[in-house]
């Protein structure tokens, strides 16, 4: 019997969050200072840096020619999985066997330089993606034609419109001829016409018998391009099956999370175990100060956030809003945006958000606390609210998220004389 083209066994990836948490980089001088300090310390406290398993015990096989969709919410480990399979980062445990040439497209235009011309960038980008010069030369005309940039070949790409830039970048990548193609959400760029063209190219690639791994939030694209799908949740596989089945299940579950919600949410003691400073409870209010979970387009929302524990200095809260597909919609943070830091005595914070110029659908709020040295708490699914009606314009046409985008921009249509 034939062997699978990709075989993944118990793959896991652990990230250590530095003890400082807030600081991104290690500095040699700190390491030296700590070493000296530890020399004189009798009992060396093992301050265990926080660790996060971005991926844990992931096992699956992919057969030659299979098109596999990978779905899951943000932070579920989808990108980490692709990064490991394309050798960008190493797994902490487990292994993967790959039989064939891999091209991974985690981003379009990797290595593009704004000062270089379109032509120079095609060669540059092609080489970085693993193409030979001869190969690029052979496909050069095709790449240029697909990107529709014939006239601008000798123009530095810094003068390109963003549409042209993306077209060129995707075009180079689309002309790679690997046995296995891994794509991460790159279709979420460019105008609609070009997105269609890209999807068309992708399915052409897929039909050509190549193996494709496709990560996306676009359930429609997953359904139409893939036969099978894998769903990741918090780094683990929660479902494997036909694309239709997995997508349907995923969408159903998103709605169920929303049903269990209410306008005062208390956190269970289990969730906050071991946290030094955390959000204990959140209330959602409307403009009149009444409890609410349903809002209309352009309404304002107030969150009353109860805190517990000890921040050990000033702190500031943050919120993230995700839509029902898990897409990141908006974010707010007191410190960086407003220069607003709270003293350690504060135990209740009011967050006012809005006008909510977003389309009708359900949204999930994540709350997070940042102290001077660390991000002490991140509460995913803190609260859920619904925009029940989005009719910003003259008619009663309701604008839903799933079909017409996340936000509404001011607009007008008129005839040009």
């Amino acid at each position: 019997m034939e062997k699978p083209i990709i075989s993944v066994k118990n793959l896991g990836k652990r990230y250590l969050l530095g003890m400082g948490g807030g600081e991104r980089y290690r500095a040699l001088r700190d390491v030296m200072a700590n070493t000296v300090k530890n020399l004189f310390k009798r009992d060396i406290k093992n301050e265990n840096p926080r660790e996060i398993w971005a991926l844990k015990d992931v096992t699956f096989d992919i057969w030659a020619g299979e098109k596999v969709g990978i779905i899951g919410r943000n932070g579920a480990g989808k990108s980490t999985l692709l990064k490991i399979l394309s050798e960008i980062t190493e797994p902490t445990e487990g292994e993967a066997y790959i039989h064939g040439r891999v091209a991974s497209l985690l981003e379009v235009g990797t290595g593009f330089h704004p000062e270089l011309t379109g032509k120079e960038n095609i060669f540059m980008n092609g080489a970085i993606l693993g193409m030979r010069r001869a190969e690029i030369k052979k496909k050069f005309d095709e790449i240029v034609a697909f990107a529709e940039i014939e006239r601008f070949l000798d123009t530095p790409v810094k003068r390109y419109s963003s549409g042209m830039y993306v077209r060129l970048a995707f075009s180079v990548a689309a002309h790679l001829e690997p046995e296995i193609l891994m794509v991460d959400e790159v279709l979420a760029v460019g105008d609609i016409a070009f997105q269609k063209k890209c999807l068309g190219k992708m399915s052409e690639v897929a039909k050509g018998g190549r193996t494709v791994i496709f990560v996306s939030h676009n359930m429609g694209a997953i359904r139409s391009l893939c036969q099978t799908a894998i769903r990741l949740d918090k780094g683990q596989i929660t479902q494997k099956g036909t694309a239709d089945e997995v997508v349907r299940n995923y969408e159903g579950q998103q709605v169920r999370i929303l049903d269990e919600s209410s306008y005062i949410i208390e956190r269970s003691p289990d969730e906050v175990k071991g946290k030094s400073f955390y959000v204990n409870r959140v209330e959602m209010l409307n403009e009149k100060g009444e409890h609410a979970m349903a809002f209309r387009y352009n309404d304002k929302m107030t969150l009353i956030v109860d805190l517990a524990g000890e921040p050990g200095g000033y702190f500031f809260p943050e919120f993230h809003i995700y839509n029902e597909l898990g897409q990141f919609v908006a974010c707010g943070t007191a410190g960086p945006y407003h220069g607003k830091y709270f003293s350690s005595k504060v135990r209740k914070v009011r967050i006012e958000i809005g006008p909510l110029t977003i389309t009708s659908g359900q949204y999930i709020i994540l709350l997070s606390l940042v102290t001077r040295s660390d991000r002490t708490d991140t509460w995913e699914n803190a609260a859920v609210f619904t925009i029940v009606e989005c009719q910003p314009f003259a008619t009663t046409w309701d604008i839903p998220t799933f079909r017409e985008g996340v936000c509404v921009l001011q607009q007008s249509f008129s005839e040009v004389e």
Partner: protein, 275 residues
Amino acid sequence: MNTEHVKVIRKRHGLIGVDFNELWRYRELFWFLALRDILVRYKQTVIGIAWSILQPLFTMVVFSVIFGNLGKFPSDGVPYPILTFAALLPWQFFAHSMSASSQSIVGSASIISKVYFPRLIIPTSAVISGTIDFCISFVILIGMMVWYKIVPTANIVYLPLFVLLTFTAALAVGLWLSALNAEFRDVFYVVPFLVQAGQYISPVAYSSSIIPEKWKLLYSLNPMAGVIDGFRWCILGTATPNWTGIIISAVSVLVIFIGGLLYFRKMERTFADVI
């Protein structure tokens, strides 16, 4: 399906050798990345290519006036400008390549976190683009030799050897510092200091003939000391260099280089996670 080519992805432990097959498959990328550096640099600066010419030229004038005219340092029988220029060429080749190479990994963060190719290519192409600059400034030296009517001696056939040694020395230090810099961001501040101190402990502004005999051996532990003496010997036919010194220099370069390769290979596993 290409069955003979099976890639195994798992955590690697201990020392990791260099995968020459893979480097060979990606050979074109060395050149592409170096070319990109050069193209971008020359497109961005107004005076463009003149930059790699003006810098050593200006430094040469300063050194000749301060050390030659005012300090009355010995010039080993050649005009002082030529004496310093012949040393500035390899020194700036080394210093610029080494600095660029040290910054290269952090500077390529966006590529490293998005696509795989052998990471060794990045610091190496930084040195390759330094080599191209070196070739450009070499033309000036030829011009100066014509002006001062100096005919190169037969020793010039050894020149490629010393160019190779400079290349390896720059890459050796660059490998260490680029990997260290990815992990510890403050290494960035050490590089300019290294370059400055290095210029004084290497015979750039002066001739190594002023070093007392008893310090000569210690002095040649600095790899660039031997290289610069060698350059002067090849081009100007000054005193035969101290071959023991050059061999010591070469061996120390080789040790740093192999150590750098191993350290780099060990650290590159986590580049995408830390930068």
